[in-house]
Structures are given as C-alpha cells and as structure tokens.
Amino acid sequence: MNPTVRVSAEQVRSMALPLLRAIGMPPEDAAITADAMVWNELRGAPGHGLGRIFQILERSRAGGLNLAVDWTPLRETSGTALLDACDGWGVVAGTRAMGIAVGKARDAGVGAVVVRNSDVTSAMGYYPYVAVMAGMVGLAITNSVPLMPPWGGTEVLLGNQAFAIGAPTRDHPPLIFDSSSSAYNMGKMRSAAAHGEKLPPGVALDDTGEETDDAAAALEALRLLPMGGHRGGGLAIMWEVLTGILAGRRSTTEVVGMQELDRTAGVSLYVQAVDPKAFLSYEEFLARVDRLIDQIHSNPPRSGVDRVRVPGESKAGFESEYRARGVPVPADLLERLRALCGDFGLAWPW
C-alpha cells in the first residue's frame, strides 16, 4: 500500500504552479492548469491532478505539446468562436474556450466555442464547472484517440467521447454530470483488470472482435463498447460531428493518444454556455434546480442503497472532506515532485 500525505488545496497549487511555469507554460496558462489540478485532486480524481505535471513535461519536451499558444479565436460571431489550440494543453484550451463561451453568453444569452488541434483534455467536468462558477449551464464534449468501434463493428474508430454538463445550484453543491460515451471508462476498466474482476455484459470486445468479460483481455484489445449499446454508439458519432467534424481538423483515427509523447494529439472540443437569465430569473432557475435535487434525494432508495444521489455527488463529498482534512497525495509522487523542483532549481514551496 502506497502511503499518502495529506496536503492542502493551497499546497497542491503551490507545488503545481511554479513547476508548470518552470516547464515553460506562460503565467496565465500555468494558473489555469494548476487550478484544474487542484479541483480534480479535491474531487478524488488524482489521475487528472498533480501527476499530469510529468505528462506536460514529457510531452512538451518530446514535441507533442506546444506551450506557447496564441489563444485569439480564428473566427467569431456574437454567439460562437472557433479556436485553434495549436497543440496546446487541453485543460487550457477547454478552460479558455469555456471562458469565451461564457463571455458570449453574457451578451447573447448563449455561446458555443469549437476548438481544433488541442492536446488531451483531461477531466471534462472542469469545463462546465467554469460556466457554473459564472452562473451558467455549461456543456463540454471532446473526441479522443480511437477506443470504440462503431455500433455493430469491430474496428476501433471513435474515441470514448467524454462529455460533461453542469448547472449552478443555490443550496446544494453544483450539479456536474461527467461521463464517457463508452459503457466503462478506462479507469474502471483498469481497476477491474487490477482486481481480477469479470466485466459485465456489453462493456468490451477482445482482439478477435468477440465480446469479452475478461478485463485484462479487454484492456489489451482496447475495443470498448458504447454505453447502452446503440444509444451510446449513436451519441459517440454525434459527438464526433460536434468536435472533430465541426472543428475542421483531425477526426476519428487521426486523433493520437497521450502516450505518444512526440506526436500532437489533434483533439477537438465543443463547449457551450447557456445563461439561465436569458430564459427565466436566476433565482427561479436556482430554486428549480434545487427542487429537482431535493426530489432526487427524497426518492425512496432500493434495498441495499443507502440514499439516492445526483451525478457528481460522491465527488462533491470528497471535496468537502479534502478541503477540511487535505488531499491524500501518494508519498512517492511528492518525492518525484520534490526531485523535479530540484531539477529546475526551485525551492520546495512548503
């Protein structure tokens, strides 16, 4: 068991920010990236947290990731923008795109921004969260390196097409639904393989194209099945339309995975902000969202279920605990970060 050290959100940020600056990110982009890492660490998603610093370092050194990006949109209208991320870090692309969409929505009521040539986008939930913090409903969709065959097929062609939608609330934590279009996401697949668990039906194919319940074979073959069968299969195609097709650069099998350090990823994003004030009073909107959440919480649970939850609620639970007690960071990760600080001649921040 890898020991962990409890670290405050401020300490997470104080480690991330100088290292990202030292790696070569401009100050604003480094701040965006560090904030997203803090958010993910607080929500119990360390795979999108501090460890990504090494990915940024390796990908930028190998040439797959560009750290010097001009974030001026290529084209704009009152309600849209087209942004070229020029192979920049996906978190910066997604956050900046949502910021632009929010700005449009302040004037026009809604805004949609499409991003081309982005690096991998990490956790999608963060981008709607950016809109939620501005009092808006946010939607973010990404394509990715191919992981799924089209429904009825065996050839891996579509990404697992992560998407997230978030809404502001008054008395509850913000509502953030973050999902992939595959039945299982990669994390769940790895966890099943690590624990030797069988997969339920409808999750993955093996390398012969037959459905398998063997998580290790599924991980080897990397042919995920869509959530809800043909439903997720269709959604994955529409998400490719809104990302890879509409952004006008790479799509489907032209998108490259993050393990190929020296190759640019060519990911596309679609982000959208909707200002509730264009449709009803903000107070009324919040009251209605809260009422819906209350209705879910008061739904009588099935036997064996303690209570009925809204999407993202367990992550919000991590956040309240981790804000109070600190984020558990593996001791060996802290050691690697400390060593990296040494390499850059940076003092350990705390």
Partner: protein, 365 residues
C-alpha cells in the same frame, strides 16, 4: 389515474393497407384543420407525423398521434392554436410560451426561429414552455439541416425512470435528437431516448406480439418484466445505467427547468390524459457552420465521416455499419415512392378520427 394505453394489438399477422404518403399528409392536415388548427400549423404537424410513418415508427405517426391530438383538443388539454407568444429574446436566444399548443407545432416553430437567429449569431437556442408532447424528435433537427445547419432538439416527458438507486419514477425518457447535413449521403440524424428502449419501441414490440428483452422494464414495485403492455405503469431502465440517468437529469435541466413553465420533472403529464395540460418543455439549438468552417467544408467532412464508418469492419452477423438515421432514410425513401403499409387496425383508427374527411387507400393486402 385512468390510463388508456394503446389498444391491444398483440394479435400477430395483421392485415395491412397501403396509403400514399401525400394522401396521408393531406388527410392528417384536413382533420387537424377541421378541429381548429390553423392551416399552416396543420400542414407542419401532418408532415411531422407522416415523417414517422415513413420510418415505420407508427407510435409517433398519424395513426397514433392524430387521434391523440384530436382527443386532446376536444378534451381541452391541447390548444389547436399555434400562436406561441415570445416571452423574451436576445440575438441568440428566445423563450416561447407554448400555451398548451400541440408539441409538433411548437417544436417546428421553435427550430425555425433558432435557425433564423443562428444565421447571424452563429449559434442560437430557444426553449418552449408548457406545450404537449412533440412526438418523434428527429424531425426537428432536419429542419435545421435543410437550412445547412446542425440542429439539436431535446424534450422532457412524463416520469418514466427512477434515479439510479431509487424506486420512484422521477424523470422522463427525454427524447433528444441531433442532425448534421451531408452532401453525397443522407444527413446524419441521431434520435434517441435516454431509456434502454423507448416507449414507441415497446409499443412496436407489443404490436408484434413479442416480449421485451430483459433489463429494459420493471414493474412499479421494481420486479423485472418482459411485458411491453405495462410500460405506462412500470419503471423504465435508463440506457447505460447511471449514465442514462445522469443524461436524463441534465436534459431536464435544459428543458423543464430552463424553460420556466408551470411543470417540470415528475409533474409533466402523460399525453393520453386528454383534458389535462401536459406542461412539456423543449430545448432547440441551431449551429450555422458558415461562421466557422463553412457549409461546404462541413458537408464534405460529414461525407468523409460517413464513408469512414461505412468502410469500417462489421462484426460477424452484421451486414454493414449504418450511420444514425440512415436505415430510416432508406425506408422513408422507399415508402415515399411505394406507399406506407399500415395495419388495418391503424387505418380504422385513422378513419374513425377522420369522420367526414376521406382517406384513399392505394391497395390492401
């Protein structure tokens, strides 16, 4: 609650008549007009209903929806008027007051308004509050597609699914559709419910006298069932488990919550309760590619995606890979040419509602 579901159609091997699509449109529009719907709205509605019949989706077609619409107008739960006041708007948004209008009128008008706004804003969103069910959602994105745009249409609906882990119905199956224009191929049109199986698909299973696959429907007290006739009282399983639940919830935020109408979530009414306003809400959006990559580039790229999908290797036992909406377009094209086969019972339903308005059969078999 007095629940009147579809009549028992489980007698297999039904007799069939064939009706021309154009005749069915004219008939449907005439019946609607006879019940007070303005001519332009009646034409819109007839087109949307027959669109579903052309695709074999009778539960959303004229033989199901026309009697329902007429019954609702007579009982007072639906207004025949297509007058939908604009409650508020910006350059890229609008709110329409549905005033219990028939959903197919409301959704068509909303999408056309979104298209007009997207022409200058690039992207536009409209919501409709307090209308009736809008039936097949795939029709509305195609109104945007016909103008060279990407269209989206979402609706909420009467409660059918409990939240994951729960036992009581709270959310509708939230039909949602997205369409994208292509050039050499049919447009890509994704039209889905958030449940593992849609209610109209369950009706078709019932029509064929078959049983449901396991895992799509549960009785009100949570036991699995394969009986398609009880969906009105049962619990529907969301597609992909918690993913389908989460999507249902977020679609409720974008429709019922955002539209600001009298009802949302579990308070939305069933269409067969004719005297009661349903309080359905709609969200429509249009994206004009002219402001980003251009229409030609979009359709060229959509073609390339379709061809890439067509060329990809099919699983054993699968004939080939189809793009969302493609099978329906193929069927619709054939039926537009050869006529729409319609079970005799459904033709009788149409004749009954059309008292006085003539429906000509091309052939019966």
């Amino acid at each position: 609650m007095a629940v009147v579901s579809t009549r028992d159609r489980s007698s297999a091997a039904q007799e069939t008549g064939i009706v021309e699509a154009s005749d069915l449109r004219a008939f449907t529009a005439a019946v609607l007009a006879a019940h007070g719907m303005p001519a332009a709205d009646a034409t819109l509605t007839a087109d949307a209903m027959v669109w579903a019949d052309l695709r074999g989706r009778y539960a959303h077609g004229a033989s199901s929806k026309l009697p329902q619409c007429v019954a609702r107008i007579r009982a007072g739960g639906t207004s025949p008027s297509g007058n939908l006041p604009v409650l508020g708007e910006t350059g890229a948004t609008f709110v329409l007051d549905g005033r219990n209008a028939w959903g197919q009128v409301a959704a068509s008008r909303a999408m056309m308004r979104a298209v007009a706004k997207a022409r200058s804003a690039g992207f536009a969103v409209g919501v409709v509050r307090d209308c009736s069910s809008a039936a097949a959602m795939g029709y509305y994105p195609l109104l945007a597609v016909a103008e060279g745009m990407i269209g989206m249409a979402f609706t909420n609906g009467p409660p059918l699914i409990p939240p994951t882990g729960g036992t009581t119905k709270l959310l509708g199956n939230q039909a949602h559709a997205i369409g994208c224009p292509a050039d050499r191929h049919y447009p890509i049109v994704y039209d889905a419910a958030t449940t593992a199986m849609s209610t109209s698909e369950m009706d078709l299973v019932h029509d064929r006298g078959e049983l449901l696959p396991p895992g799509v429907l549960f009785t009100a007290d949570g036991r699995p069932t394969r009986d398609p006739s009880i969906w009105v009282d049962g619990l529907l399983a969301p597609a992909g488990g918690h993913r389908g639940y989460g999507l249902s919830l977020m679609l409720e935020i974008l429709t019922g919550v955002l539209a600001g109408g009298a009802r949302f979530a579990p308070d939305v009414g069933h269409p067969f309760l004719g005297g009661e306003p349903q309080g359905v809400a709609l969200f429509v959006a249009a994206i004009d590619p002219e402001h980003s990559i251009g229409h030609e580039e979009l359709t060229r790229r959509a073609d390339a995606l379709i061809e890439r999908l067509h060329a990809s290797e099919a699983a054993p036992g699968t004939e080939r890979i189809y793009v969302p909406g493609e099978r329906s377009f193929i069927l619709a094209e054939q039926r537009e040419r050869d006529g729409i086969p319609m079970p005799t019972e459904r033709l009788e339903d149409l004749r009954r509602v059309g008292s006085g308005v003539d429906l000509t059969l091309v052939a019966s078999c």
